[in-house]
Amino acid sequence: MALTTPVSGREPRSAGGRRRKRSGLGRAGSFLNNLPQPIAVLLVVIVVLAFWQLIVAVGGVSEIILPPPLAVIEEIGVVAVQLATGGFLLGQLWLTIQEIVLGFLLASAVGFLLGLWIGQTRFGQRAVMPLFVVVEASPKIAFTPVFIAWFGFGISSKFLMAAFMSVFPVIINTAAGMSAASEDEVKLFRSMRASSWDIFWKLRIMRALPFIFAGLKIAIVSAVTGAVAAEFIGGGVGFGEQVRVAASRIALDRVFALIFYLSILGLILFGAISWAQRKFAFWDVTSITRKKEKK
């Protein structure tokens, strides 16, 4: 129903322009395609939630196995109150944030330096880079128990796992970025008698920035995954641990609510990096097109 009303609202305009005879599907399609993005997203969310509610209501699935959306939303509210009043959960969330940020920062620093070395030496490019690409393609998450075994049940195994998960995209992207400056540009700098220092800072690093940011964006997402996975297995602390505990109680509404907040956390961190990318690599084609699209 919601679909048809606005379509007829648009009717006078299309009637004025061209012949009215268009298939209903085409009209609905173009209506959907022309929706403002936030409203379109909201629409999809509503449809998904309605479908979910329908399954619970009609499908005969137990509310324990699949809590209805309203129950989850209610639980999100309960968790929100806890977080806002500085309850137990807030402390756990803060721990997880620390693990993620610490791991990400460590991975960024180490990954950047290693990437610089690999990208600028023939040995690094030929001997080390392929290995890192192989590790990056492997299911790194499977190393979680190893990190618990090595670094114990405290916070260090978690943030190191987060770092381990996120270091490879930084290395690989930084290394790739180091050869992004064109031969013409290097020749230009050399013709102006630039020092190697200047060629590095005023050319190579600048050209590498879009690559580095692409790596950092993958890294922050991986860091969240790494920290939460380590909390699952390494027990004791953190938001991930709370997810596990809730799941073991089969309180799935709580599980979904906690996952919701972890997603929000991931989005905020990802958004921060995207913001930095648009600020520092604004000249890069990808960020330019994004800017144009907005207008």
Binding site: S182, L188, S191, M192, K202, M206, A281, F282, W283, D284
Partner: protein, 264 residues
């Protein structure tokens, strides 16, 4: 010396017995190049693709060491990019993270550091204005057209006030009309500063329009096959291109290139 060069004028470039082989690719890029370029002269290198024009210019710019032979600039061995030389490549190569005026100021910044660059800002804006880029100082290269970028690159070359301009197909990517306008602009700039100009081009009319002397080259290995002195009155204009003598010169250059082509 023959027509077009003045008696007693200072020699800027002297190249003797120049040979260059790219070892890795086993390409004999240049063979037996001998030439002398005088102060204030405009000379062009023209020839088929791959005949070593860019290689020669790169060597003259001190960016590549030749396998054999000597390259003297104002009597001194060229063993690195000399201060008095400004070079412009086929592509404008502006840095997209710097505004147009910051791009123009890049050579100054690399020479004197960021702080002392500020003093040159007026000069840079003045140059930009002279090539019709007033108002674009703070724009980024992504917002410039190909021709505008090329003009900004000219300003970047000129900001250090070089006495010698080395230009590798500077306007090759531009349309015919823009190119002619840029050619005349280049002539004006060079004449005003009494600069020596070495131009690599694929365009016969461009070579004849701008040059006092045209070196026709042939490929594999790259050699100078013929030297054609262009004795046309200056300053040259678009009307010059209608002169019978101009048409005659373009014919001579074309035949020289054809002969070079048959030889190889």
């Amino acid at each position: 010396m023959s027509a077009g060069t003045l008696e007693g004028t200072r020699t800027v470039y002297r190249i003797e017995g120049l040979d260059h082989v790219f070892d890795a690719a086993e390409v004999h890029a240049l063979q037996d190049i001998d030439l002398r370029i005088l102060q204030g002269q405009v000379v062009s290198f023209i020839g088929p693709s791959g005949c070593g024009k860019s290689t020669l210019l790169t060597i003259m710019a001190g960016l590549l060491e030749p396998s054999r032979g000597t390259v003297l600039l104002n009597g001194e061995d060229v063993d690195g990019p000399p201060d008095e030389v400004g070079i412009m490549f086929q592509r404008a190569t502006l840095l997209p993270w710097r505004t147009t005026v910051e791009n123009v100021l890049l050579p100054i910044e690399l020479r004197h550091g960021k702080r002392r660059t500020k003093a040159y800002r007026d000069q840079a804006e003045d140059l930009l204005q002279r090539v019709g880029l007033a108002g674009f100082e703070r724009r980024y290269p992504g917002e410039l057209s190909g021709g505008m970028a090329q003009r900004a690159a000219i300003c970047r070359m000129l900001i250090t006030e070089p006495d010698v301009l080395l230009l590798d197909e500077p306007f090759g990517a531009l349309d015919e009309l823009t190119r002619e306008r840029m050619d005349l602009e280049l002539q004006r700039i060079a004449a005003a500063r009494d600069a020596t100009v070495v131009l690599v081009t694929h365009s016969i009319p461009e070579a004849v329009l701008l040059s006092d002397r045209v070196y026709a080259m042939s490929a594999r290995p790259g050699r100078i096959s013929e030297v054609i002195d262009i004795d046309l009155p200056r300053p040259r204009t678009l009307d010059t291109m209608a002169l019978p003598a101009f048409v005659d010169y373009t014919g001579r250059v074309r035949r020289a290139l054809d002969r070079g082509h048959e030889d190889s």
